[in-house]
C-alpha cells in the first residue's frame, strides 16, 4: 500500500462572521495518490474552493478557523508547517491554476516577466539559473502548452492575449513550479466551448507527461468525466461519494449524485431532469445529521440525527449515506 501524496483527514473549517460561525467544512476526507488524477465535483457553495485554499494555506486566518483536521503532504501536516517549509512546498511541489486567468495574471507585467519570475522562484535550481537559461526555460514551457510564436508571447501583456491563451500561460506557470501536484480550480469555466475542450486535453497530456498528480475541481460533471481516474462528490462541506470515474457515471449511489446526474441535459434529447428540490443549507445553522437530508427524497429518521460516515460499497466506491450502511466492509468514521 503506497503512501498517499496528499491526504486530508477530518478537516473542519469555520468562518467567524456577523451572525455567528459558519461551519463550512464538516470533516472532509480526501486522498490523492502519486500520479493520480482526481476530480472534485460540487455545486456553488459546497466548500470545494475553501478546501483547496486550505491546502495551499491561502485562507485568511481570521475570519477562518481550523478547529480540527490535518492536511498531510507526503506525511507532513501542511497546517502545522513553518513558513520556510510552506514556501518550499509552494515553490516546488504544489501549485494552483485559478478559474479566471485574467485575474490570475498581473496586467502590468509582460508574460515573459511573469513566467521568468515563476522560473526564478521555483526553488533552489531556479535561483542559480542565469538570465538566458531562465529565458530558454520560459520558451520551452510555452512550447509545451502549445502556444505558437513564443518569442512574441513573451513580450505581450495579458490583455493582448485571448482567454484561452491566458489560461495556457497560467498552466505553464503552474508546470514550472509544481513537480508533484497541480490543483486546478475550475480552469475551464470562463472559456468558450471549443477552447474548454482544448485546455482540458492539454492539461491531461501535460500531467501524464510530467507524472504529476492533479486535482481537478469543477461544478460540471461532464468536465471530469474524461479527465480523471476517480471523483469525489461534495455537498455542503462533506464528501458524499467517492468512486472511480467510470463507476460514478454508470452507477451513482448517493441521492445527491443521482439527482445531479439526472439534471444534466442530454444531447439525445428527452427533456430536462427535475433538478433537486430545495437549496444548499445555511452554514450558520447547518442541518443536524446528514446535511443533505432536508432535500433527500429517500430520507430516513436516522438521517436527521446522525451524520453518515463513508460506507465502503465496493473497492474504491464509498458513499456517505445510511441507505448503504448494511454493506459490511470498512467504514471510515469521523
Amino acid at each position: 500500500m503506497t503512501k498517499p501524496l496528499l491526504e486530508i483527514k477530518n478537516l473542519h473549517v469555520w468562518f467567524k462572521v456577523f451572525g455567528g460561525i459558519l461551519r463550512v467544512l464538516d470533516g472532509v476526507n480526501f486522498t490523492v495518490m502519486s500520479e493520480e488524477k482526481v476530480g472534485l465535483v460540487g455545486e456553488t457553495g459546497c466548500g470545494k474552493t475553501t478546501t483547496m485554499k486550505a491546502i495551499m494555506r491561502l485562507l485568511s486566518m481570521p475570519p477562518a478557523i481550523i478547529p480540527k483536521g490535518e492536511i498531510l503532504f507526503k506525511g507532513k501536516d501542511i497546517l502545522r508547517m513553518n513558513r520556510a517549509e510552506l514556501q518550499q512546498i509552494r515553490k516546488e511541489k504544489i501549485s494552483m491554476i485559478f478559474q479566471d486567468p485574467t485575474a490570475a495574471l498581473n496586467p502590468v507585467f509582460t508574460i515573459g516577466t511573469q513566467i521568468q519570475d515563476a522560473v526564478r522562484f521555483s526553488g533552489k535550481s531556479g535561483r542559480k539559473m542565469k538570465k538566458d537559461e531562465i529565458k530558454a526555460r520560459a520558451m520551452q514551457v510555452l512550447k509545451e502548452v502549445s502556444l505558437p510564436d513564443q518569442e512574441r508571447v513573451l513580450h505581450n501583456y495579458p490583455i493582448q492575449l485571448s482567454g484561452g491563451m491566458r489560461q495556457r500561460v497560467c498552466i505553464s506557470m503552474a508546470l514550472v513550479s509544481a513537480s508533484e501536484l497541480i490543483i486546478g480550480d475550475e480552469p475551464e469555466t470562463s472559456l468558450d466551448v471549443t477552447i474548454k475542450d482544448q485546455i482540458l486535453r492539454l492539461l491531461k497530456e501535460l500531467v501524464e507527461k510530467h507524472n504529476t498528480s492533479i486535482i481537478l475541481i469543477s461544478h460540471a460533471l461532464g468536465t471530469v468525466k474524461n479527465m480523471t481516474d476517480k471523483v469525489y462528490v461534495m455537498y455542503a462541506g462533506t464528501m458524499v461519494e467517492l468512486a472511480k470515474t467510470k463507476d460514478l457515471f454508470a452507477h451513482p449511489l448517493h441521492p445527491y449524485s443521482k439527482g445531479l446526474l439526472a439534471a444534466i441535459p442530454r444531447l439525445t434529447g428527452g427533456g430536462i431532469g427535475e433538478g433537486i428540490d430545495g437549496h444548499i443549507p445555511e452554514y450558520i445553522n447547518p442541518p443536524k445529521g446528514c446535511r443533505f437530508h432536508p432535500r433527500c427524497k429517500q430520507v430516513m429518521p436516522m438521517c436527521k440525527d446522525k451524520k453518515p460516515p463513508l460506507f465502503k460499497v465496493s473497492e474504491k466506491h464509498e458513499v456517505a449515506c445510511f441507505l448503504f450502511q448494511n454493506f459490511g466492509g470498512d467504514c471510515i468514521d469521523k
Partner: protein, 321 residues
C-alpha cells in the same frame, strides 16, 4: 398557420471604435414563430447577445429591420419605442448578479415594471402582485424585503424571470439565463420556463452556448459565428445532421456523460485555432482559417445562404449550387 412574432431582416449592428469597426452583427435574417422557442447558439464574439440587445431595444440597428407581430416596425432604440411594445418584449440577462440592482429590495425591483405600465391600481395591489410573482417562481414570500446579495444565484435569476413576466409579455429574450448557475438549479429554472411558456403562451428567443441544453429546449436552432448566421435548422435535424463545418466542430467538442450521447456526436474534429478578433474579420468566409473542409473559394468569397432541406438553411460553399 402560426404567425411570426418576430421577423429580423438583414440586421446589422456595427460599433465604431478607435481600433476599427466592430461588425458585431453583420447581416442576419431569421424569423420566430408564435409560441416557439428559437435557439441561438454561438461562442463569445459571435454576436448572439448583440442580436438580443438590439431586438429588445438596448441598441439601435445600424441597418436592417426588426418587425414585431407582422406589422410593427421596432427597429429603434427603446427610447423611441412606444410603451406598449416595451410591455410585450422583455429580456432576462445572463448574470443575475448584475441584472438586479444591489441597492434595491426585491419588492422595489419587481414593482418597477408594475409601476411603469400601470398594472396595479394602488400600493396595496402592487404588493399583492409582487407576492404573487414570487409565488409563481416558487420563491418564499419572505424574500420580498430582502436585497439581492442575500439570496443565491439561482434565486436571483428567478427574480429576474419574475420581473420579465410581471408585465405579461408575449415575447421573452433569454440571454444565457442559466450559464452562471449550477446544473441542479438550471434544471429547475428551465422546467419553470417551459411551464410558463405553455401557461402564458410565450415565444422565446433562447441564447446559450450549451448545446446539450439547447437540444432539450429549442424547437429550431440557429448558430452564429463572428456576426453571421452559419446554419438554421429544426432542432432534431440540427443535431442529427449538422451541415456547417463550424456546427460539426462545436458539436464534436461538447463534454457529454453517456455513451449514447458520445455516439451521437460527429466524428472528433480537433478544434484548431482561436476565434479571430471581430475587428479583424478574415476575408471571404469568416470561418475559413479554422475550417477542416476548407476549399480555395472560401478565402475569397463569402458564401450565400442556401436552403438544403425543409427549414434547414446553411451558409457554406460546400452546399451552394
Amino acid at each position: 398557420m402560426t404567425n411570426n412574432i418576430l421577423f429580423v431582416d438583414h440586421l446589422e449592428k456595427y460599433f465604431f471604435t478607435y481600433q476599427g469597426i466592430v461588425k458585431a452583427v453583420d447581416g442576419i435574417s431569421f424569423f420566430i414563430k408564435e409560441g416557439e422557442t428559437f435557439g441561438l447558439v454561438g461562442e463569445s464574439g459571435s454576436g448572439k447577445s448583440t442580436v438580443a440587445y438590439t431586438v429588445v431595444g438596448m441598441y439601435r440597428p445600424t441597418k436592417g429591420k426588426i418587425i414585431y407581430k407582422g406589422d410593427k416596425d421596432i427597429s429603434q432604440d427603446s427610447r423611441e419605442r412606444p410603451l406598449a411594445i416595451k410591455k410585450e418584449i422583455q429580456i432576462v440577462y445572463q448574470d443575475p448578479g448584475t441584472s438586479l440592482n444591489p441597492s434595491m429590495t426585491i419588492k422595489d425591483i419587481l414593482e418597477l415594471p408594475l409601476k411603469v405600465h400601470n398594472i396595479s391600481k394602488n400600493h396595496e395591489d402592487r404588493i399583492k402582485k409582487v407576492k404573487e410573482l414570487l409565488e409563481m417562481v416558487q420563491l418564499p414570500v419572505s424574500y420580498t424585503y430582502k436585497y439581492p446579495s442575500m439570496i443565491g444565484g439561482g434565486e436571483k435569476q428567478m427574480v429576474a424571470i419574475a420581473r420579465a413576466l410581471a408585465t405579461n409579455p408575449s415575447f421573452v429574450l433569454l440571454d444565457e439565463p442559466t450559464s452562471a448557475l449550477d446544473v441542479s438549479v438550471q434544471a429547475k429554472l428551465i422546467n419553470m420556463l417551459i411551464q410558463f411558456q405553455k401557461k402564458f403562451k410565450l415565444s422565446y428567443l433562447f441564447i446559450t452556448h450549451d448545446l446539450s441544453l439547447m437540444r432539450n429546449v429549442a424547437s429550431r436552432v440557429a448558430i452564429m459565428y463572428l456576426g453571421k448566421l452559419c446554419e438554421i435548422a429544426p432542432s432534431s435535424e440540427f443535431f442529427k445532421n449538422p451541415l456547417h463545418p463550424y456546427t460539426q466542430m462545436l458539436l464534436s467538442s461538447i463534454p457529454v456523460i453517456s455513451d449514447e450521447e458520445e455516439a451521437l456526436k460527429p466524428k472528433k474534429i480537433i478544434s484548431k485555432g482561436e476565434i479571430p478578433s471581430p475587428v479583424n474579420i478574415p476575408p471571404g468566409c469568416s470561418f475559413h482559417f479554422r475550417c477542416h473542409k476548407k476549399m480555395d473559394i472560401c478565402s475569397c468569397e463569402d458564401p450565400i445562404i442556401t436552403e438544403v432541406n425543409e427549414g434547414h438553411t446553411v451558409r457554406c460553399h460546400l452546399y451552394t449550387k
